[in-house]
Symmetry: C2
C-alpha cells in the first residue's frame, strides 16, 4: 500500500492544534439557519462554542443578526465586533452590574433572571434599558424557576413590571438533559415536553396580565433532531456549529458534520498494549468523556489527516486516557502499524465547546489562523 497523499498542513503543525473545517462549519450554520427560517423562528445562536469574531461572520453570512453569549465579557467582545442584539444566557451576576452598564449603549441586551430580589437589584442599579428573560427549568434541574412554580414566576414578572428600564421579553430554557438521551426519539420527546412546559408557563404569564411572552429554547440536540421548531419563537443552539462525539452519540449529527479535530503529534508507541501516546491531553481536549460500550472512558476518536481534510473516524481508535499533556490512544493493529513517532493523529473531541475553550484558537484546513476572545486576566 502506498502512502496516501498528505495535506499541506501536515508539515506546519508542531504541537496540539485545533483544526477547523470551514466548509463543514459553514454548512452546519447554514443548515440550522435554514431550519429556523422554515420554522419561522428567530435564530439567536450561542457563541460560547466558538468565541470568535471571525467565525461569527460566518453566521452573519447566513443572515444571523442576534446572538447568545454566556458571560458579560463575551457580550463585550461581540459588541465590540458589531453585534447589536445579544442575550447573556447565564443567571445575571450582580457583581458585574458595572460591567453590564459599560456595554455599548446602542446594543440591545438581554439578561436572565429567576428571582425577584435580583430583579429589584437590577432595576435599582441599572441606568440603561435591558431586556429581561425569565429562566425556566423545564426538567434539566440545573437552574431556573421550576416550570410549575407559578408563584415564583408571577413574583418575578411582577418585579420586572415595577422597573422602568427592564422590559420583560419572555421565557427561556435550556433542555440540557437532551445531552443524556440515548437516541433521537428520546431527544425529540424531551424537546416536546420542554416546549409544552414553556407554553404552559407562557399561558400562566398571560393570565397574570403579561401581554406578550416570547418562548426561547436552545439545546443543540433538540434543534438538530426536531425539524419543525415552529412551536417556539426563538432558538439558541450553539454546539451545532462544530458538533462532536457527544452530539453524534445522541443522533444530532453524523461524522461528516463534525467540524473540529485536535491535531496531536505522536510521541511514543507501546506495542505490548497497542497504544500510542499523543501530545494532546486534558489541557487541550478537556476532560469531558463518554463511556464506551466496554466501560472504558473515551476522550475522543481518532481520524487521520488526508489530502482534502480528515478521514472518517477510525473504528476502535479512541483516546482512552488523558493527563495534563498526554493522551493515550487505543490503536487497533492496522492503525498502530501504520503510525510512527512524529506522525500526527487527529482527535474528534467529545465536547467541542470545552476543547475550543481550552485551545483558545483554530487553524482552518485552508491554513487560516483564527483567534478566539482572549481569556480575562486574573
Amino acid at each position: 500500500m502506498s502512502a496516501p497523499p498528505t495535506h499541506p498542513l501536515d508539515q506546519l503543525i508542531t504541537r496540539p492544534t485545533l483544526l477547523l473545517d470551514p466548509d463543514r462549519a459553514r454548512r452546519n450554520i447554514e443548515r440550522m439557519a435554514a431550519r429556523a427560517r422554515r420554522s419561522g423562528v428567530r435564530f439567536r445562536p450561542h457563541f460560547k462554542t466558538h468565541q470568535s469574531a471571525r467565525i461569527a461572520e460566518w453566521f452573519r453570512d447566513a443572515g444571523v443578526e442576534h446572538c447568545t453569549v454566556s458571560s458579560v465579557e463575551m457580550a463585550a467582545y461581540f459588541a465590540a465586533h458589531g453585534w447589536t442584539d445579544i442575550t447573556i444566557a447565564f443567571p445575571v451576576n450582580l457583581r458585574e452590574i458595572p460591567r453590564i452598564e459599560s456595554l455599548p449603549g446602542g446594543a440591545r441586551l438581554g439578561l436572565l433572571v429567576e428571582d425577584p430580589a435580583t430583579v429589584h437589584n437590577l432595576g435599582a442599579r441599572l441606568t440603561r434599558p435591558v431586556d429581561i428573560w425569565i429562566k425556566i427549568d423545564t426538567g434539566y434541574g440545573r437552574t431556573g424557576i421550576a416550570w410549575h412554580d407559578r408563584d415564583r414566576l408571577e413574583s418575578v414578572a411582577h418585579a420586572v413590571a415595577g422597573h422602568e428600564r427592564l422590559t420583560l421579553q419572555g421565557v427561556i430554557a435550556h433542555a440540557g438533559h437532551t445531552y443524556a438521551a440515548d437516541d433521537p426519539g428520546a431527544v425529540a420527546a424531551i424537546h416536546r415536553e420542554s416546549v409544552a412546559r414553556l407554553q404552559h408557563v407562557r399561558r400562566d404569564l398571560m393570565e397574570a396580565g403579561v401581554e406578550r411572552v416570547i418562548v426561547s429554547i436552545g439545546d443543540t440536540p433538540g434543534c438538530s433532531i426536531v425539524d419543525d421548531l415552529s412551536d417556539v419563537d426563538e432558538i439558541r443552539p450553539g454546539n451545532f456549529a462544530f458538533y462532536d462525539l457527544m452530539q453524534r452519540r445522541v443522533g444530532a449529527c453524523g461524522n461528516e458534520e463534525i467540524a473540529v479535530a485536535l491535531a496531536s503529534p505522536v510521541v511514543a508507541k507501546h506495542p505490548a498494549r497497542s497504544e500510542l501516546v499523543i501530545y494532546g491531553g486534558a489541557v487541550h481536549l478537556s476532560k469531558d468523556a463518554l463511556r464506551l460500550p466496554d466501560g472504558r472512558a473515551c476522550f475522543g476518536q481518532i481520524a487521520l489527516l488526508e489530502s482534502r481534510g480528515w478521514s472518517a473516524p477510525i473504528d476502535g481508535a479512541y483516546v482512552t486516557g488523558v493527563s495534563q499533556e498526554h493522551g493515550i490512544v487505543a490503536a487497533p493493529p492496522p492503525l498502530f502499524e501504520r503510525i510512527a513517532v512524529g506522525d500526527l493523529l487527529l482527535v474528534l473531541p467529545v465536547h467541542s465547546c470545552l476543547t475550543a475553550d481550552a485551545m483558545q484558537g483554530y487553524l482552518t484546513l485552508d491554513g487560516e489562523r483564527i483567534p478566539m476572545m482572549p481569556k480575562a486576566a486574573a
Copy 2:
C-alpha cells in the same frame, strides 16, 4: 449571629477568580525543599502546576535552581525568566526540534526518550548539547520503557552513546498511580516499588557499561508522604505547591496546605433541592472529579472568604455538577441559609494543576495579580 468580618478582596472580585494563599504556597515549597535537602537529593520541581515566573521566584527563594516543565514552550518561558537547568518531562516531540534548537544555548536542557529511533533522530538533527533521560514505566502504564524490558533499555542507552551531543543522565519515572491510591500506606508502597524498579534499571544500565545513572522520580503523593527520599537522586513533584482535594484524599496534604481556591459568585438559589448555582464551571475548574462516598461526583469543596483568608472546607458542601460556566453546589441548610445571590463561594479544586491552567492567572490574598505563561496561539 453577627456577620463575620469580611476580607477586603470580597469587594474586588466580580467573576471567577483563582485565589492564591502565598503563605501556604511558600510553606509548601519550603517544606518540600527542606525534605529534599534532608534526604540529600536534588530538587527539580515541576513548574507545570503554576506556570508562572513570579511563583517560580518563590522556589528560588527556597534555594531551588533546577526545574521541570511539560512542554517546549514552557521551557522557553522559564528560560526567558532566568532558569538555566530545565528538564522537559514529556516524551520528546520530534516536530518541535527547531523550537528546541532555538532555546537559549546557555541553558542546560534535559529531554526524555524511550525508543532508539527517536534518539537517532535527535542525534542527527540537534546541533546543541542536551541531557538525555530514559523514561521508565515503573507500573503506572502511561508511557516509558517497561522497567523489566532490558532489551529496549539497552538499545536506547546504546543509541544515546552513539551521538556526541546527547549525554545520558539517568532514568526518570512518574509513579502517577499513587494518585489512585486509597491511603498514605498504599502511596508509600507504590513509591517503594517504583524506586526499587528504578534501582533495578540502574543496575541493568551499569552492567551494560553506563558509568553513572541518576535516578529521578516525581509524583507529589510519594514525595509528600515518604519522609526519607534518599534512595533516589532527584525528585520532581509539582502539584505540592498548591495541593488540592485529590492530594488530600490520598493523604498527601491537609486542608491547611491547599493554597488555591476558585472564588465564584453565587447567581441562583434553589431551596427545594438546597442547591446554589455559582458562576464557576468546567472552563474554570476543569472537569476533573472525585467520587463522593454516596456516589455523587465532586468537582470541588466549598469554603468561605474570611478576614484573613479562607475558612476550613465546609462539611457536605460540594460542587456536584459543572457545565461550561455553571457550577452546582450542594449546600447543607446552614450554608444555604447564610448565602445570598451575589455572595462569593470559594471552591477548593479537585486538581489544582488543571484549574490553574484553565484560569491563566492568580489573585493572591494580598491583592497581587500574578499572570501565567500565555497560552500559545493556534
